[in-house]
Structures are given as C-alpha cells and as structure tokens.
C-alpha cells in the first residue's frame, strides 16, 4: 500500500513538473539573485571645475595670520606699556 502511494505521488510530481504551468515552485534556502556585472564606468571623483588645480606653495594665509597677529600683539603690548608708564 505504501509502495503504491509513493508511486502515485511520484507520477503526479513528474506529471506536474513536466508541464511548466503546473510546476511546483520550490523555495530554495540558497539565494539566487541575478549575477551583477562590474559597472564599466569608472567612479573617479572628476574635477569638473573651470579653474586649474592650485599648485602654489599656498602658505599665504598662514604667513598673513602670523604677520597680522604679530602686529596686533605688538600694538597691544605698546598700549599696555604706555598705560603702565602713565600710571606711574
């Protein structure tokens, strides 16, 4: 009886598998996503600016800061000294 049942089940499965419309969908635990091809376009961060890259020594800001702060400190010191003298 068991053998007969198994045989019928096998025939049914085969019959349904043969006809795509009846094919049982099988959920596989293995993910089957479509293979991705490497994109051909490069991912370079392009320089699209209208200005050429700045290739100067570029310490101008730092030198300016030093010059300005030196002048300001000098002025503050003078001011303090004058004030101290005036106090005396």
């Amino acid at each position: 009886m068991k053998k007969l049942f198994a045989a019928v089940a096998a025939v049914v499965i085969m019959a349904f598998s043969a006809v795509p419309a009846f094919a049982v969908s099988v959920n596989s635990p293995v993910a089957t996503t479509q293979a991705e091809t490497q994109p051909t376009t490069s991912k370079v961060k392009k320089d699209t600016t209208p200005v050429s890259p700045k290739t100067g020594s570029d310490s101008v800001v730092a030198f300016s800061a030093i010059a300005l702060t030196s002048v300001a400190c000098g002025a503050a010191t003078l001011f303090a000294v004058k004030k101290a003298k005036a106090k005396k």
């Binding site: 961060k45 699209t48 209208p50 050429s52 100067g56 310490s59 730092a62 030198f63 030196s70």
Partner: protein, 274 residues
C-alpha cells in the same frame, strides 16, 4: 569698568597669541612635511631612476653629433629606459610614467588616481598626506599620452622641488639651452621639444577646450606659439600641425596670484625601450 577693559585686552592678546601659534605650527608642519617629501623623492629617484641623467647626456651627445634619428633608426635600436616603472607600479598602480627635464629638479614619477582627480595634489606616491604632492594628470587624459594635449600638474614649491624649477624657462638663455623634456613609460620613451613657456590664466585647460575640434586645437597651438603673456619664451623654428601631440606642464606663479605658469612641449620622438 577699567578692570573689564583690561580683561578684554588680555583676552584679545590671548586669542591673537593662539592664532599666531596655530599659524606658526602650520608653517612648521609644512616645512617639516616638505623636507620629508623631498628626502623621499630623492630616494625614489635614486632607487628607481638612478641613471637617468647619464642616459640623457649620452643621448644628447648622440643628438648633437648629428645622428639624430630618422623614424627607422629609432625602431631599429631600442632606446634605453633608466626607470624601473614596473617596480614602482607594483607599489602603486596609479604610477604610470616618469618625467625628467635636464638641468631642472624635475625628475619624478607621474601618477593618476582612479578615485579622485586631484588626489595627488597633496598625496605622495605611497598615498600618504604630503604637502608637495606628486606630479599628476587627471582622468580626462589617457595614460599613454595619446591625447592631443596632456596636462601634468605639480606644485611650485618654495624649496625648488616639484615643478618650481619650471620657472627656469622664464630665463631666455635657459630656454634656449634646454630644448627637451622626457617622459618614460614602462616601454616607451617620449621626447618633447619645449615649444614655449609663459604665464597663462587659471583656466582648467582640459575642461575649457575641446581639443577634439580641429579648429580649437589649432587655435591652442597658435596661442602656444604666440602667447599673449609678456614674460614668455617661444622657440621660433617650430611648426605645429593638428597631428602633433602636446604636453603641458602647469604650476603656479612665483609671486602668488591666480595665473599659472605653463611649459608646453611637442612630441618629437616616440621610441620603444628595451
């Protein structure tokens, strides 16, 4: 009231002192970083291109003796390649050529980043931060120098490194006496004759001109032969055609300002190397 005024002055002085210290620290860092980069670059040159000056002088002698090559002669005998680019390339695949200009400090590897066009503006060939950066081109240029115009960028360093000595070409005598600049790839030696050297504006050359257009390219060449800049040097006996390939070296000006100093060369010899 008086105390408040004094406190304000003290606070201002402290702030100014902090700014001063920051600026001084920044400059010291740059000086130290530049010195280290210089040291590293000279080590790279002596390790990977140790005989470049000798190779150049022997070939200059050949050129001066009148046996300057016909195209057949160049193909018959392979040119010497003093640069071990394959080893450099193994360390950093972005390095694809070497530039050498006799009687200047220009003797460096050339890189092109596949991630950021201006990466090598402030990175050395080992991809670490470096104020002088590396001589580089952008992705708009092919690495085989087959474009009509290839632009290489380098810093105008105060210590004379990178592209600073390109400014030597502003001296008419130096310009007359130094005709050639060389590019070595892994299996080619490209010789460029210096066409002109002049101050230009800060336009991005490759983004501003469509050199695929014959008219644009011809105009560019005419401008190279007749620069509008006052301080320019031009080699008189050169004719340029639309089939020529040009190399533009770009660096900043000595006195600051927004312009660029350009040295332009035309490819006169493309030799396979052994």
């Amino acid at each position: 009231m008086k105390k408040r005024k004094n406190n304000a002055i003290i606070a201002i002085v402290i702030i100014l002192a902090l700014i001063f210290a920051g600026a001084a620290g920044f400059i010291i860092f740059r000086i130290v970083n530049s010195a280290a980069a210089n040291d590293q670059n000279s080590k790279i040159a002596s390790s990977y291109a140790s005989n470049i000056a000798q190779t150049d002088s022997s070939q200059q002698a050949t050129q001066n003796s009148g046996s300057e090559s016909s195209p057949d002669a160049t193909t018959a005998k392979l040119a010497e390649n003093p640069v071990n680019l394959s080893e450099l390339n193994a360390q950093n695949p972005d390095i694809y050529s070497w530039i050498y200009i006799p009687n200047t400090n220009v003797n460096y590897p050339v890189a092109q980043s596949d991630a950021d066009d201006n990466f090598y503006l402030d990175h050395d060939i080992y991809k670490g931060y470096s104020f002088p950066g590396t001589i580089y081109s952008q992705s708009c240029n092919k690495k085989d120098y087959s474009d009509r115009v290839t632009v290489l960028y380098g810093h105008n360093m105060l210590d004379g490194s990178m592209f600073a000595t390109l400014h030597n070409f502003s001296d008419p005598q130096f310009f007359e006496e130094n005709k050639y600049m060389y590019i070595y790839t892994e299996n080619r030696k490209l010789t460029y004759e210096v066409v002109s050297a002049f101050v230009y504006d800060d336009r991005h050359i490759m983004n501003s001109f469509n050199f695929l257009d014959d008219a644009v390219y011809t105009q560019w060449q005419q401008d190279a032969l007749n620069p509008r800049s006052v301080s320019s040097n031009v080699r008189k006996d050169i004719q340029l055609t639309k089939n020529d390939k040009m190399l533009v070296l770009s660096t900043c000006l000595n006195g600051g300002g927004d312009g660029r100093y350009l040295v332009q060369g035309v490819l006169v010899k493309d030799e396979p190397t052994g």
